[in-house]
């Protein structure tokens, strides 16, 4: 089983910071960076398979295709249970959090700036232990 970690955000600086933190926390040395939703969907659509899993850090507010549109599109993908999504947003709007919970792929909702502790907690969550136990 292979876990592909992706960071989808149009904020290049955030992507840089995220890359550092994912490396520091041992989640991913070289995550795939996408700057819009379209790009992310293309990547996932090309690679998705029975034994291929994705951990997607997804921003909501993005050009071309925002986070919601990505989540909507993922519903139609094969093996949707293989895709785990973590929303990472600067919004503190409760409506956004409420909406995010309606998607089955969502495993966490993080408010920017992301903290190490949040990532470590995510790493040890039941969704991901399979990938990080060895």
């Amino acid at each position: 089983m292979e876990l592909r970690v992706m960071v989808v955000d149009d904020d290049k600086m955030f992507n840089l910071i995220a890359k550092v933190l994912l490396r520091d926390t041992g989640i991913a040395c070289n995550p795939t960076i996408c700057t819009n939703g379209e790009e992310a969907l293309e990547t996932i659509g090309q690679e998705i398979a029975l034994d291929k899993f994705f951990l997607v850090f997804l921003d909501i507010n993005m050009p071309v295709k925002n986070g919601w549109q990505v989540l909507d599109a993922l519903q139609a993908f094969p093996y949707p249970e293989n895709i785990h999504v973590v929303i990472v947003t600067s919004s503190i709007n409760k409506a956004d959090r409420k909406r995010a919970k309606t998607y089955p792929q969502l495993i966490d909702y993080l408010i920017k700036p992301i903290k190490r502790e949040s990532l470590l907690a995510l790493k040890s969550s039941s969704y991901l232990t399979t990938f990080f136990s060895y």
Binding site: M13, D24, S90, I114
Partner: protein
């Protein structure tokens, strides 16, 4: 031989003159004559013996020889004794031979028959009846002295002459013309005339004397009886004259007729007495005479009775024997005539009741003979006893506690006592089957056998009688087709004959069968047949009566129950005696104990509610005074103080003896009365409410018209406006008249009509109060308005209608729309704050964290600081933008 000689001696000295002749006609040889005969005829025995009768007695001066000849001839032909009328004989007197004695002798010729029935001798015996004839003659002559006349018919001269006496008898004057025809004309009856002519002709022909008594009508029209005696005088066989006497025997004839009539009556009387005449020795009771009728009475002949000295006592029915004999002995000793009843057993075993009427004949003050007459009174006796039995049964039947089985058993046992040897049964018939019911004298095993057998044409006597509804008499069970399939059982129990009579009720159904069994073969006699019919009718009466009594009992019970259920009590008041009777229910209504309370008029009044008492007293007294029925209501007070309301009826009844009685009934109407009172109260309350409603209606009407909000009423069927208020007129722009000419469709835009119709249909079906909904209406000006409608279903002048309160919320809706638009802007600001404002801020915070905690991130410090500066600039721009937008909203 010795005996014969004895008889001859006896014969010779017999005082009756007797002659014995041989039947050798025409000689009639004399074989013997006794001494009396010889004396009478003044002959010697030798003159007679061996001579022919007519040889010795060639002529008779007074009688034609033919009479004797005829008598002998009659004997020879009939072989029976023949008696001649007394004959007159002249015989020389013994004392003085010159004197002739005239004797009247009654002669009887009697044949003596041999073993073969042939005539052996003819015995000619003579009885001297001179004295009695002379007496009769004397009497006759005495009578004739006054009422006798003579007559003569001269055939040669063709004349007829009557003596003066005769003319007087016929009440003819001396001038009355007399010839043969006028003389015959006195005989008014044709047959009488013929008889007289015949007698005259006969006399003319043979010269004999004739006697004839005939009724005549005298010249004056009186009825007389005339005895005519005449004789013809013949000369050389030719009649020259006829002469004789005619006697008025009217009185004698009348006496004779009376006597004959009386004798006739007596004879009839004797004949009609069904009695046996008897005579017995008063000492030994041994019968010395018993009339032949005994054969008819008991079946034994008189000889059988006479042959047995103890016959009478032996044949008395055992139960009566001692009493009957001692009764008779007791009265005989006292020489007292007596009459007593007892039963005797007939030769065929039947038992009959005898009434014995006994005369005691005493000699020298000592009872010597008993003479009596025994009469069969069985029928009368049974009739009387049956009457008594039936009376007993009827009395028993009237007793309420006597069961029908007890009554019928008593009857059956009574019948069996009346008819010794009889065993009776009463079987019930139900659904075409026979059920053994009452039979106290029949064997139980036999009864069990016949129980529950089907009835039918050939189902024994009882089964057949039930089937055919007619009496069935079977004298011999063993040989009767009706018993062919059943005879074994009765015969095994010794029952040999069975007579049955069906008991048919008023509906023509056979309910029971009365059966009579005997242990010998037996046919019923007339009395028993009559009894069978009577028993059937009597049983029917008892059973019907019982049935009716049961019905009556049920009815009474039902009536009592009905009274109790209806709380209807009844009463009777004998006004004069103030005796009052109450029904059980009435006691219940008054709450009184029947055993402890005696009803009476004043006692009753004291129970009536004090407020009603005088009124009730007046009503009842008025009813008595006017004799009119009355109905009234009253309240009574029960012992524990409870008040009950009664509706009472009273009726005055005048009894046959003139006394007055009042009868009545009381119905406990308390519940109904209380309900009525409650209802009245309710009505009063409702009326009060209605009054309030009427007042409030006015208020509501005012509220409708004065309401500041538009209101109208429309017809749910036609949608037409029925009423509108001023506010509606003002708000919608139509006049009242315009409204009333419109329907509710007319105040709506076309696209709203389906919605409106659906709402109306819903209202019609659901009848809900106060529904609220929002609709689009159109004013007269064409302006659309949003209206919140509140409605309610009402009756408006008899029509199902809906009242509408329309609240124009168009303005309110405008406000809401404006607020919603503003909200949208605020939401946009919030979103912007969340996403746009916080994005650079979060980036700055992230960069700061990186610088602080990850000095070895691999990212140049300049790049990090430049990113912080860019983010701060971006944040500044965003805040400016937000300020602009906020200013827009507040504007």
């Amino acid at each position: 031989m010795h005996k014969e000689m004895e008889y001859t001696a006896v014969f010779r000295v017999s005082p009756t003159p007797t002659l014995i002749l041989l039947p050798n006609a025409p000689l009639f040889t004399i074989v013997d004559a006794n001494d009396s005969y010889l004396t009478l005829t003044n002959k010697q025995r030798e003159e007679l013996l061996g001579k022919g009768f007519f040889e010795v007695f060639p002529t008779n001066p007074y009688l034609n020889d033919n009479e004797w000849k005829k008598s002998f001839d009659a004997i020879l032909s009939t072989k029976q004794a023949h008696k001649l009328v007394p004959q007159k004989f002249a015989s020389p007197a013994i004392a003085s031979p010159t004197h002739i004695d005239i004797k009247y002798l009654e002669i009887q010729h009697t044949p003596v028959l041999d073993d073969c029935g042939e005539i052996q001798f003819i015995v000619r015996s003579m009885t001297d009846v001179t004295e009695s004839v002379n007496h009769g003659k004397f009497l006759q002559e005495t009578q004739q002295a006054a009422r006798i006349g003579s007559w003569e018919i001269n055939r040669a001269l063709q004349t007829i002459s009557w003596s003066q006496e005769l003319r007087e008898i016929f009440e003819m004057g001396p001038e009355y013309p007399l010839d043969f025809h006028s003389a015959m004309a006195f005989y008014s009856d044709t047959n009488d005339r013929k008889a007289l002519s015949k007698a005259l002709q006969k006399a003319t022909h043979d010269g004999t004397i004739f006697r004839i008594a005939l009724p005549v009508t005298t010249a004056k029209g009186h009825k007389r009886w005339i005895l005519t005696i005449g004789k013809a005088e013949l000369v050389n066989g030719i009649c020259v004259r006829i002469y004789g006497t005619a006697q008025d025997i009217t009185e004698k004839k009348n006496t004779e007729e009376a006597l004959i009539s009386s004798e006739h009556k007596f004879h009839n009387l004797i004949q009609t007495i069904d009695g046996v005449v008897w005579e017995a020795d008063a000492e030994t009771f041994e019968a010395t005479f018993i009339s032949d009728k005994v054969k008819w009475l008991l079946g034994y002949t008189a000889d059988e009775w006479l042959a047995d000295p103890g016959f009478w006592e032996k044949n008395i029915y055992e139960a009566d024997r001692e009493n009957a004999v001692s009764y008779c002995q007791k009265h005989t000793k006292k020489s007292a005539n007596h009459t007593f009843d007892y039963r005797m057993v007939k030769k065929n075993g039947d038992i009959i009741w005898i009434k014995d009427i006994v005369s005691v004949i005493s000699e020298s003050n000592k009872p010597r003979w008993l003479r009596g007459i025994m009469v069969d009174i069985t029928e009368a006796k049974r009739f009387a006893e049956l009457n008594q039995l039936e009376r007993t049964i009827l009395e028993l039947n009237e007793k309420k506690d006597a069961s029908i089985e007890h009554i019928l058993s008593t009857y059956v046992l009574g019948i069996e006592a009346l008819f010794p040897g009889m065993a009776c049964s009463i079987n019930q018939i139900r659904n075409g089957r026979l059920f053994s019911w009452i039979a106290p004298s029949l064997p139980t095993a036999y009864l069990q056998h016949i129980h529950n057998l089907p009835i039918g044409e050939y189902a024994g006597s009882c089964g057949s009688a039930a089937y055919t509804k007619k009496p069935v008499i079977v004298a011999d069970i063993a040989n009767n087709p009706l018993w062919a399939d059943f005879k074994e059982q009765p015969l095994n129990h010794g029952l040999k004959s069975c007579w049955s009579s069906p008991v048919v009720n008023a509906q023509g159904e056979v309910v029971a069968v009365f059966g009579i069994y005997y242990k010998h073969i037996r046919n019923p006699n007339e009395d028993e047949l009559a009894f069978i019919d009577r028993a059937g009718a009597f049983l029917n009466m008892i059973l019907e009566n019982h049935h009716h009594a049961e019905l009556a009992q049920e009815t009474t019970l039902m009536m009592q129950q009905g009274q109790a259920l209806a709380h209807l009590g009844t009463w009777q008041w004998d006004i004069e005696s103030d005796h009052v009777t109450w029904s059980d229910t009435l006691f219940d209504i008054y709450g009184l104990d029947k055993a402890a309370y005696t009803p009476g008029f004043s006692a009753y009044l004291s129970r009536v509610h004090a407020d009603d008492r005088q009124r009730v007293y007046d009503i009842l007294h008025n009813a008595i005074k006017k004799g009119k029925d009355t109905v009234f209501e009253e309240r009574i007070v029960r012992p524990e103080g409870e008040i009950r309301h009664l509706r009472s009826w009273a009726k005055l009844v005048l009894k046959a003896d003139g006394s007055r009685k009042m009868i009545g009934a009381c119905l406990d109407i308390t519940e109904a009365k209380l309900a009525e009172l409650a209802l009245n109260k309710l009505h009063a309350e409702i009326e009060q409410q209605l009054k309030i409603v009427a007042e409030s209606e006015k208020k509501y009407s005012n509220l409708f018209h004065l309401s500041p909000q538009p209101m109208w009423v429309y017809d749910l069927d036609t949608y037409r406006f029925l009423d509108v208020n001023d506010a509606a007129i003002k708000h919608y722009g139509y006049t009242r008249e315009e409204f009333l000419a419109m329907t509710i469709r007319d105040i709506r835009p076309p696209e709203e009509i389906p919605k409106m119709e659906a709402a109306v249909a819903y209202s019609k079906q659901h009848d809900e109060l106060f529904t609220t909904s929002v609709y689009v209406h159109r004013k007269k000006s064409g302006e659309r308005i949003y209206v919140e409608v509140k409605s309610n279903i009402i009756k408006f002048h008899g029509r199902k209608a809906e009242v509408i309160l329309a609240h124009d919320i168009s303005e309110k809706l405008d406000y809401i729309q404006a607020i919603e638009a503003q909200n949208k802007k605020l939401q946009d600001i919030a979103w912007m704050q969340s996403h746009v404002v916080r994005a650079p801020l979060a980036r700055i915070m992230g960069l700061a964290d990186l610088i602080q905690h990850c000095p070895d991130s691999g990212i140049e410090s300049d790049e990090l600081l430049g990113a912080i500066k860019d983010s701060a600039t971006e944040l500044d721009n965003i805040l400016r933008d937000i300020t602009d937008k906020t200013e827009q909203i507040s504007r």
